[in-house]
Amino acid sequence: MAEESAEAIETEPAEEAPEEIGDPAARALKDRFPDEVLEVSETRGETTVVCAKSRIRDILTLLKDEPRLSFDRLSDVSAVDYTSYPGHEPDTPRFNVVYNLYSHPNNQRLRLRAQVTEDACTIPSVTSIHRGAEWAEREVFDMFGIRFDGHPDLRRILMPLNFEHYPLRKDYPVRGMGERDVIAPEDPGFLGNPYAGEEEEVDDPLGSERMVLNLGPQHPATHGTLRLTLELDGERIVRCIPDIGYLHTGFEKLGEHHTYNQYVTVTDRMNYLSPLCNNIAYSMSVERLMDLEVPERALYIRTILWELSRIADHMVWLGTHALDIGAFTVFLYTFEQRERCYNIFELVTGARLTTSYTRIGGLGWDVPDNFREVVLDFVAQFPAAVEEVERLLTRNRIWIDRTKDIGVISAEDAINWNMSGPMLRGSGVEYDIRKQEPFLVYPDLDFDVPVGKHGDTYDRYLVRMEELRQSQRIIEQALDKLPDGPVKVGDAKVILPEKGEVDFGMESLIHHFKVLMDGHGLTPELGEAYVPTESPNGELGFYVVSDGTGYAYRMRVRSPSFMNYQAYPQMVNGHMISDAIAVLGSVNVIAGELDR
């Protein structure tokens, strides 16, 4: 509070907002913190509150504890570097830390932007209010150099520990600063010995010398490159420290250097199990930013593909999860189903994995004529496959013993740790973005949201199994309702004209030229948008900030794996190594999405 920021006062204290503030949360904040709340804007159904950083903890506490508001989940923490943003004055704060809040009881979202200057590059950490902010804050620190006061473990998370720069700052070039030539040979890696001088009370009188074991990055059960440092007492895990960033690709930075349509191809690589979900989720954010109404046929096709992706993703999860617990055969059964899904993707998009199917404003092209039959064929044989796996596992004594009461997380904790998707539902929270904040055409479709009871690995397994059946229901309904019509918006300023027209029509040629020309085609207005979606693993969303050019000013990916994974140490502490593997499988960490 001492550094009651001078800059907060310097920035024009929002002149008495003449128009009524519609959002009750924003209104309450304005009432309670008149000095801190600088600006409130409500655009495209999203409320943004800009505030000073000094009392951010009080603000979040109020938002969480006030019964009318109860913003109990901090869905994301990110930051924006406004250095080169249009209208940015040198004396206004350089950074905004962006908090994306969600209220489960009220089904509401609120975006808070706290201003941070470059000179006093710190902000109070909110991890004591929302535990789930831990990794997100570390990432902001890693990428922007903003320090979080009171953070329990403020280290770099994605970049190497000895990295010197802050890559998402605007003054860091996308090609890097030559550190690849310097760092590689003597990279100290992780922490050396992260335990020096720390001893923990053991409740086991027969306990003995601890063993520190690296599990990953090259380990059969990590399915990708991630690392766990386990401190073991015999077979029991005393402490677990995850280390991520092995697959860090800089997708967010790339977002600032690709045009909006180019970036679709980058999103493929993010979650390599369900690339179409990423394509679609990304396109939806940009479409909201540009106020585009996507034709209904495109929405239906997107929905069908979304659910097929969910099936493909869950199939890989199921196979590898079972494999990790020793049921080898399930793996091949599920992969057969996944191959069938991929055949459909190949038929529709031309690629099995790098689908790149969406365009801003619709789809690349319409689905082929036999799409309906092919998908119907798939859904017809699919239940039998799920049934077969269920027969192998669901009532299998060993499977139940291995998964029941393992990796338990309560509903309250799951929310506090910012979990989403099947992880959250396994703990009994009925939150499915398809129902609560509907997107695509989900409101028109009839499906159930399975919810677990105990929050253990077994419940998460059951939830995902039921989701498979519900996905199948959704696909069947969506196929029945699939309307005719275009699959792209009619706006020639957004969508490339057909190739044939370009060859013979002057007007089309000009449109084609303009769409592709820098700064002419796809240029959203100044602003920001975030569309939450229910990806197979949980809440997936792209927070896009536009500066009016053809490139995003900031591209933040709120990836479910990243958020779900951070509570992992708490879920496995005290368990055995075998349990750690079982829980890892049930979290379903996808390294590409985890590290981005």
């Binding site: 509070m1 001492a2 903890r57 109070p124 991890t127 004591s128 006061d149 009171g150 953070h151 329990p152 473990d153 890696g189 992780f190 050396g192 010995n193 409740d203 086991d204 027969l206 306990g207 003995s208 010398e209 063993m211 520190v212 074991l213 690296n214 599990l215 990953g216 990055p217 090259q218 380990h219 690392r227 440092t229 007492d233 015999g234 077979e235 029991r236 402490r239 677990c240 420290i241 338990v408 997380i409 309560s410 904790d413 140490p569 708490q570 879920m571 502490n573 005290g574 368990h575 055995m576």
Partner: protein, 138 residues
């Protein structure tokens, strides 16, 4: 009778010869290009923290102790088993007492918890945070 064991010995020698021969055969053909990376410890591609020759959790040794006690007694049952039918009620009674003592021993070990493996504490989620949270400073 002894010849039977001679056969076993013969079997042992032939078997061992087979193994040594295979290793020898391999050494004639296989390449040998060691390098530091190949010769390092495998630990998922990371430098190991601490050695592996440590004092391991004592529970494993307790199991070994339990085993020795029971195994010796099991061996004692064998001679009885072969002649059990001849001994009749007296033999059965003796064996019963013996097995009963064995069962008592098992019950004792059971009660003492040496057969148990440490299970996580009920409220493990709260009391095993990675690091304690730093309280708000003013």
């Amino acid at each position: 009778m002894l010849l039977d064991y001679a056969n076993v010995l013969l079997f042992l020698s032939v078997g061992s010869f087979f193994i040594v021969f295979n290793l020898f055969l391999g050494s004639l053909f296989r390449p040998d290009n060691p390098d530091p990376e190949k010769l390092s410890t495998y630990e998922c591609g990371e430098e190991p923290v601490g050695g592996s020759w440590i004092q391991f959790n004592i529970r494993f040794y307790v199991v070994a102790l339990d085993f020795i006690i029971f195994d010796v007694e099991v061996v004692l049952l064998y001679p009885w088993a072969v002649v059990a039918q001849e001994f009749g009620w007296y033999g059965f009674g003796v064996a019963f007492v013996f097995i009963f003592i064995l069962l008592l021993g098992l019950a004792f070990a059971w009660k003492k918890g040496t057969l148990e493996w440490v299970r996580p504490k009920v409220d493990r989620f709260r009391d095993t945070m990675t690091r304690p949270l730093v309280e708000e400073a003013a």
